[in-house]
């Protein structure tokens, strides 16, 4: 069953199209990854799904309810984990969770029970009476999540929930996301960390310049870039002459130097391997190691969105 439907959604800021006729269906019970470079329109799309921004045209329905017509009803079904920490520093962890729980309409014993549940779920039960100002970055991130899940929403939207935290906290959060999904929540997950998205998401959409430029499972997306392979050659004496000659090879699409390695992108490595080794030998480049990499989500992301820096 489809939980969230975005049909032909358009949003403009001063005549500039920020979200350009986006169409996405998110199925109930899936973890849906939303990827894109800065300024791609991810945050705007999330804000529109949450009813924080009004869309200019199209329609967004959550659980069959129009966001435009019944924003309050939709908001009851959503739990948003914002990218920035949204906590009250002068209230304890438990008070923070209770406050947001009350705004979701929880009261009495149910509120108490859900507060304890959310804090336990995020591993903060023993710090419930402490203020977030005394917490580490990872603990604050976990409390940020606890405040969004305590009303057991149907749809949880996590906007880069693992930014700037230690590996242990990141792992805890990723495990929590999977656990929430197992408990029945549908999750929209945005991140800049490709390996996170690849590890936890059932499906991924890549956004750029307001468009959804690719959408599917990780396997489906990888197949889209299967036409290109990457050979990583670690070598000594990497000279400009060597790079120049590799770049002029008619079958090599792209050459990149990463520290003491040369990365070569070409349609098929097998037929050109001998040529490549010959060029290295001619420039007296001593090869330390050589391996062929399978295309991953990052390769796909970069090949679709380009390598130019985005602000």
């Amino acid at each position: 069953m489809t939980l969230a439907v975005l049909s032909d959604v358009v949003k403009r800021y001063d005549q500039k199209l920020t979200v350009d006729h986006v169409n996405v269906n998110i199925e109930e019970g899936e973890i849906f990854g939303l990827l894109g470079p800065n300024g791609a329109g991810k945050s705007t799309t999330i804000s529109m799904i949450c009813g924080l921004l009004k869309y200019d045209s199209g329609e967004i329905r959550i659980d069959g309810i129009s966001v435009k017509e019944h924003p309050i009803e939709v908001k009851r079904r959503i739990g948003l984990v914002p990218q920035d920490l949204a906590l009250y520093a002068n209230m304890t962890a438990a008070e923070n969770v209770r406050f947001f729980g009350k705004l979701y309409g929880l009261r009495g014993s149910l509120l108490k029970e859900r507060t304890e549940e959310a804090l336990a779920f995020t591993g903060l039960s023993d710090r419930a009476k402490e203020k977030p100002s005394t917490f580490s970055g990872g603990m604050k991130r976990r409390l940020n999540i606890a405040c969004a899940i305590m009303h057991r929403p149907k749809l949880i939207i996590m906007d880069e929930p693992t930014v700037g935290i230690d590996p242990q906290s990141r792992n805890h959060i990723l495990e929590s996301v999977k656990a929430l999904n197992r408990l029945g929540s549908t999750i929209i997950y945005t991140s800049h960390y490709m390996e996170e998205v690849a590890a936890i998401c059932d499906r991924v959409a890549i956004m750029d310049k307001g468009h959804i430029i690719a959408c599917g499972t990780e396997k489906e997306l990888r197949e889209r870039v299967a036409h290109e392979e990457k050979i990583v050659v670690k070598a000594t004496n990497i000279t400009p002459g060597l790079i120049s000659e590799l770049g002029k090879h008619p079958r090599i699409n792209r050459v990149e130097v990463v520290e003491d390695a040369v990365e070569l992108y070409l349609p098929s490595s097998q037929s050109e391997l001998q040529d490549i080794l010959f060029i290295f030998s001619r420039h007296e480049g001593s090869i330390v190691s050589l391996h062929i990499e399978e295309p991953d989500l990052e390769t796909l992301f970069l090949s679709l969105t380009g390598r130019t820096l985005r602000d």
């Binding site: 924080l52 908001k75 914002p82 920035d84 949204a86 209230m91």
Partner: protein, 389 residues
């Protein structure tokens, strides 16, 4: 229910702040004490006034006794004025002026030649009055001789227009009036002290600052990103505003009660005989202050801009309304009539002076109208502009 939740958490957050206790309770009480003690000469009237008998030098410029004024002589020696003036016959103007300079006399009167004959011939009675050094003595003696001249001239005019009968009928009624009477310009017949004035003025200034608490609270929601989270929840923007306003409103009423009680207990400040009306005026001030601040918030992009605007307007209105020190009659004083503080301060001072409700009602109406306009402005602006991160 959301309004109640937001209000109670706002209250809890504000009351946990130690700086709040210092700024909102201790600071106004200390300020009232300092201003009341140091500026007691500028405001109000301390203690009761008394009328002292004034030594008056009388110089009759007529050459000889038969030509001297018998009317004035009879008046200054009459029982009617003996408590107020003590006449001394002086020969020359120079002697009288010298006596005024040395303080021997408090006042001097120069009687022109032919004073009595001028009156009898139907002319206007005129005396030359020379002021002494003391303001109160001048007022007392001046009132006595002004009355004397007025009475003569009144009789002259009445006799000429209505005939002698009307004059004789009027005399007994006039005889009962004392020559000098002490009184107060306010109806209640009371005066206010510097402490009372500054207690009222500072109370209003700090009530006006309550809007700043709303401003900082709203902007802290923005800065903490909690506003973003709250907007993603089933909470209407209006519920957030009303909850915040009620929370800060309750805190400000606590502050208001603390200022009134502390100033009464510590400095004996009397707040008048209409406590319910005082509460109503405080409520109106809080509503005006908070709605104004919310308007500023909706048009300001940063917390610093909003805080600066509210600060400038608060201090500016307190000054223009005469809350720092009573202002002389000038354009500044006239501009004060356009401030919220002006109408509030006047009303509270009148309550302190036991003025009738009729005198306070215009202030109540003006304040209510101002609040309605500000509430209307907030509702209209919120619908047009909104308040988002």
């Amino acid at each position: 229910m959301n309004i109640w939740t937001i209000m109670t958490y706002e209250l809890r957050r504000q009351l946990r702040s130690r700086t709040w206790l210092l700024n909102m309770i201790l600071l106004p009480v200390v300020l009232i004490f300092l201003l009341g003690a140091s500026l007691s000469g500028v405001v109000g009237v301390e203690g009761a006034e008394t009328v002292n008998q004034v030594k008056v030098a009388i110089v009759d410029t007529a050459a000889a006794a038969p030509a001297k004024s018998a009317a004035l002589d009879a008046f200054v020696k009459s029982d009617e004025v003996k408590d107020y003036i003590s006449p001394f016959e002086v020969q020359t103007r120079e002697e009288a002026e010298s006596g005024l300079r040395t303080g021997k006399y408090g006042y001097a009167v120069i009687v022109p030649q032919g004073f009595d004959s001028e009156i009898q011939s139907g002319g206007q009675a005129e005396l030359e009055l020379i002021l002494g050094k003391n303001h109160s003595d001048n007022t007392t003696a001046g009132t006595v001789f002004d009355n004397f001249l007025s009475e003569i001239n009144y009789k002259q005019a009445a006799a000429m227009t209505l005939g002698p009968e009307a004059l004789t009928a009027a005399i007994p009624a006039m005889a009962d009036q004392p020559a000098v009477q002490l009184g107060n310009l306010n109806n209640g017949g009371k005066t206010y002290t510097a402490s009372q004035f500054y207690a009222a003025s500072m109370l209003l200034m700090f009530l006006l600052y309550s809007g700043l608490t709303v401003t900082s609270s709203l902007f802290s929601e923005k800065d903490n990103h909690t506003l973003f989270r709250i907007h993603s929840m089933p909470v209407k923007g209006s519920q957030l505003f009303i909850g915040k306003m009620l929370g800060v409103g309750v805190i400000t009423m606590l502050q208001c009660a603390a200022i009134i009680i502390f100033t009464n207990l510590l400095f004996g400040v009397y707040w008048g005989n209409r406590p319910w009306l005082l509460i109503l005026f405080c409520l109106l001030m809080i509503i005006a202050s908070m709605t104004f601040s919310i308007l500023v918030c909706m048009f300001s992009k940063t917390s610093a801009t909003a805080t600066n605007i509210v600060n400038i307007v608060t201090v500016g209105m307190t000054f223009l309304s005469g809350g720092m020190a009573p202002l002389p009659d000038s354009w500044v004083n006239s501009v004060g009539a356009f401030t919220i503080n002006h109408w509030e301060l006047q009303a509270i001072i009148r309550m302190m002076l036991h003025s009738g409700f009729g005198q306070i009602l215009p202030n109540l109406l003006v304040m209510s109208a101002m609040c309605l306009v500000l509430i209307g402005g907030v509702v209209f602006t919120y619908r047009k502009v909104g308040y988002h991160e």
